[in-house]
Each structure stands twice: as structure tokens, then as C-alpha cells.
């Protein structure tokens, strides 16, 4: 066992972990940060995706001690001052989920992508999210949500004031 100290969503955490414990286990079972999910434990489905020092990682195949001292961001840490991040807002608006299980990993992958490519094409979004599996939606509304979030982040979303959820479309 060894002592792990990491910052998660802005707060410092310490935990005793085994040498082979992975980051997903630490987040969920030690720190009770539940949004990253167990989907496959082999890095294939993306449901466990988090950011480590701003970079996308599959936490199920990330050794916990290997991220000693790092800053981890999960979906819980995405909103600021209680406001939804544009990705969260657009996933909600555009129905970018059905069962919701892949959603935390999907949004974090999208966040990492938009951080480095803020003005993407349809095809670039698809390629960036190719490592996040979704069985429910068929991906169309997910891609739509990410493109809308990119526009909102760039301040280009017409007709919809920032900070408000659009009403229903009758």
C-alpha cells in the first residue's frame, strides 16, 4: 500500500492505495466520485474517461500511483459556480443521451477535444469520440450536441442567451 495525493475537481484528496489500483477504483470506491463508470475495465468503451492535468485518460487502465500529484477533472467538476458548462447544456438540449451511462465519459472526451480544437467539423468530432461507445443513441444527437457546444463556447450560438436553458420546441 502507498499514500496517493491527488487534486480532484479542485479539492485535494489523500487515500491509501495498492500498487496496482487503477484511478477509476480510487475515484469511485475511495473518494465516492461516481460519474466515471465501469464499462469494460480494459480501456475499450470510454465510460471511465476523465482529464488528468487537462489531458484525456481512460481511468480504468490508468495506474493510480502514476498520477500522483496530478489534477483530475471529472464531470462533477465541469460546471463553474453552479452554472452548467455549454457541453452539459447542449447535451441536455439536443437529447445527447438516452440511458445516460456513457454520458460522463462522452462529455469529458468532448471537453478534452474542444479544448484543443474549438472549431471542429462534423467528421473531426466523430473521430475524436470514436473511443466512446454508446449503444442507445446512434451518436447523431451526441455529435450535434458537441458542435452546438463549440458554437456556444465561441459565442456564436444565435438567438439563445447564455446561461439559460432554451424552452421546449413545440
Amino acid at each position: 500500500m502507498a499514500l496517493l495525493e491527488i487534486k480532484v475537481n479542485g479539492a485535494v484528496h489523500r487515500a491509501e492505495v495498492g500498487l496496482t489500483t487503477n484511478l477509476l477504483e480510487v475515484l469511485r470506491e475511495k473518494l465516492h466520485i461516481m460519474s466515471p463508470k465501469f464499462g469494460c475495465e480494459s480501456g475499450d468503451c470510454g465510460a471511465c474517461s476523465v482529464l488528468v492535468n487537462g489531458k484525456l485518460r481512460r481511468s480504468c487502465i490508468t495506474n493510480a500511483l502514476s498520477v500522483q500529484g496530478c489534477e483530475i477533472t471529472t464531470l462533477e467538476g465541469l460546471s463553474e459556480d453552479g452554472d452548467l458548462h455549454p457541453l452539459q447544456k447542449q447535451f441536455y438540449e439536443k437529447y445527447g443521451f438516452q440511458c445516460g451511462f456513457c454520458t460522463p465519459g462522452m462529455i469529458m472526451s468532448a471537453k478534452a477535444f474542444l479544448d484543443r480544437n474549438p472549431n471542429p467539423t462534423d467528421d473531426e468530432v466523430k473521430e475524436a469520440l470514436a473511443g466512446n461507445l454508446c449503444r442507445c443513441t446512434g451518436y447523431v444527437t451526441i455529435v450535434d450536441a458537441v458542435l452546438s457546444a463549440a458554437k456556444e463556447l465561441a459565442g456564436k450560438l444565435a438567438g439563445e442567451p447564455e446561461g439559460e436553458l432554451a424552452g421546449e420546441r413545440g
Binding site: S42, L129, C136
Partner: protein, 337 residues
């Protein structure tokens, strides 16, 4: 060489447990502030039951959708629902919800009538206000009515509803029975491009029309359509647990050898809805969540035949199968000469 072809497939799908015997119950109760609690035993899988069912309750009660809270948590507090399968929830639980909401609405109107000194049949509920149409003096908020009933008169504002169909056992010789509540319909038209050197089949275009009865929430219906077509396409081109069936050799163990569609595998899919109302469904709705996965496979197979003249009658439609079929076709053609 790349060759294109087009293929058609139609589908139909029954609503309800095959052979019947399934049912759902629902409870709608009104809170002191006039909002509603919808209590059901229905499980939400992501298809949107917890959205369309309160939409129906809100419609019947004349209150906003946002004023209906849904509880579907456990078997102690929630009534029986047979289950979320067989495309049955919108129709069966929906009918139960409409009944329950209708019943509690009658109680509200009776109480309001007493308070407004009129009879229930003169009243309607619009946007949470119970009123005699065109008479602004005879109107009262649903919240005030509920408070009066619950706190002053101690009347419990709760309505129950149930809907089901008795089991219909098939005749042992003829199979005669009545196995369904209603049927939904679909037609899919697909264009593919087949590479005769690699065997790869690419879907260039896909158009589908679905009859869903009354679409209670068109966005969620679209979600089922896109998700279903994606799943059906993935089944057709990518998936088999036993690649050498019937041998169990190389049975799939993980996402690495059981490849499901990713963002890179979803073709252009366009769809439209038509609404042929069901006879007995709530607002004329039909179940459609399963039907959407069925037409892609045969439409793609038919399109491949149109493109390169081979029938692939065993899924999945892998490049290997296409190449072997082309090869066999070529041998057959040259044998004829």
C-alpha cells in the same frame, strides 16, 4: 471496382407481450400546491418512459409537464408494471396513466365545482387554472382547490388506473390467437456501395419511414429511430458472438472482438414519421422502440444483391462473406459457359 445498389425492406411490430397477459397500473396524486405525483412501477431504460408518461398526465390534468413528478423506484411504493419490454410501455402504462389522471381530475373538478358554486361539467382545466370558460369570476387555481380538499376537507386526491390484455393461448394445431394490442409499420430504402476487391460494404444513404401512431414526444421517437437503425446496421455488418457458428471457437469475450458501431461506423440515416393512430392506445400511440432495429439488415442485403448480384443470407455481412459469394458466383457463371 465499386458498385452501387439499392434495397428495400418493410417491417411491422406488435405492441405488448406476445400472446397478451401483461398489464400496468398507475397512481396519480395531487399535492397541496396543485402539482401532481405520478407513481408507476415502470423501469426507465433511457427510452424516455419517465418523460412521455408525465407528458400524458400533464395533458389530461391541464397542468404544465414540469409540474408532474415521477416516482418509479421500488416495489413497496410503486404499483405493478409488467415490465419495460415488448414495446409496451407507452401504450399499456400510458393508458393506465391516462385513466389515473382522468380519475383524479374528476375529483378536482368536483371540489372546484363546490368552491365555485357550479357543476363539474361546466369546468375545464387550462394551464393549472380550473375555470368556467369565458367566465373569469368562476376560476380558481388547481393549487387552491388541492389545498382546500386536502387540508380543509380531508379528501385524499388520488386516482388509480390500470390497463392490460388477457392472455390469449394459441391453438395447439393452428396457432390461432390474438397476440397483440396494435401494430406499427416501417419501410426502409438503402443505397450501398460494394467494393468488389475488398468486399467492404458502405452505406451511402438510408431513408426510412416509420408509422408510430401518435408521437407523444417526437424528439424521443427520433431517438429510438436513430438508435434502432444504428443498432440494426451494427448487427448487420459487424456483430456475431460465434464467428464460426455452430462451433464455439473464438467466441467473443470483450469489446475488442465483439465490435459494436462507433461514431465512425454510423452511416447517413434519414427518417420520417407518419402517424396512423392506433385504435386503443393513449392519444392513438403505438409502441415502436424495437421495430426500428429490424429493417436495416434485409434492406442492406437486398441492396448488396442489387449492386453485385449475390445474396448474403447469413449475417453478419462481412467483407469475407461478400468476397466468397462473388467468387462462388464467378465460378458458377464460368461453369455455365
Amino acid at each position: 471496382m465499386k458498385k452501387r445498389g439499392k434495397g428495400l425492406a418493410v417491417a411491422f411490430y406488435p405492441t405488448g407481450l406476445g400472446g397478451g397477459g401483461d398489464f400496468s397500473h398507475a397512481i396519480v396524486k395531487i399535492k397541496p400546491d396543485g402539482t401532481a405525483d405520478l407513481i408507476i412501477g415502470t423501469v426507465e431504460l433511457g427510452q424516455g418512459a419517465r418523460t412521455v408518461l408525465p407528458q400524458m398526465a400533464a395533458e389530461v390534468l391541464g397542468i404544465p409537464y414540469e409540474h408532474v413528478r415521477v416516482t418509479n423506484s421500488d416495489t413497496d411504493s410503486c404499483p405493478i408494471c409488467f415490465g419495460t419490454f415488448a414495446s409496451r410501455v407507452t401504450y399499456f402504462t400510458g393508458n393506465a396513466v391516462v385513466q389515473a389522471a382522468t380519475n383524479v381530475k374528476q375529483m378536482l373538478l368536483a371540489e372546484a365545482a363546490t368552491l365555485l358554486d357550479t357543476t363539474p361539467d361546466t369546468l375545464e382545466i387550462v394551464n393549472g387554472i380550473i375555470q368556467v370558460p369565458d367566465d373569469p369570476k368562476k376560476s380558481i387555481s388547481i393549487g387552491d382547490v388541492a389545498f382546500s380538499a386536502l387540508y380543509v376537507k380531508h379528501k385524499f386526491l388520488v386516482g388509480n388506473g390500470c390497463f392490460g390484455r388477457a392472455a390469449s393461448r394459441p391453438d395447439p394445431e393452428t396457432g390461432a390467437c390474438d397476440p397483440l394490442a396494435t401494430l406499427a409499420w416501417a419501410a426502409t430504402w438503402v443505397e450501398v456501395e460494394v467494393d468488389t476487391e475488398t468486399g467492404v460494404v458502405e452505406i451511402i444513404d438510408s431513408k426510412s419511414v416509420y408509422d408510430v401512431g401518435k408521437a407523444i414526444n417526437p424528439a424521443l421517437v427520433r431517438g429510438q429511430i436513430i438508435g434502432g437503425v444504428a443498432m440494426g446496421t451494427s448487427w448487420t455488418l459487424l456483430e456475431s458472438l460465434y464467428p464460426y457458428y455452430p462451433s464455439p471457437e473464438h467466441e467473443a469475450r470483450s469489446f475488442r472482438d465483439y465490435a459494436i458501431a462507433t461514431t465512425m461506423d454510423i452511416p447517413t440515416m434519414e427518417s420520417r414519421m407518419v402517424e396512423c393512430l392506433s385504435v386503443g392506445g393513449p392519444f392513438g400511440a403505438k409502441g415502436m422502440g424495437e421495430m426500428t432495429a429490424n429493417p436495416p439488415a434485409p434492406a442492406i442485403v437486398n441492396a448488396v444483391h442489387d449492386a453485385v448480384g449475390v445474396w448474403i443470407t447469413k449475417l453478419p455481412l462481412t467483407p469475407e462473406k461478400v468476397l466468397r459469394a462473388l467468387e462462388a458466383n464467378g465460378r458458377a457463371a464460368s461453369a455455365e459457359h
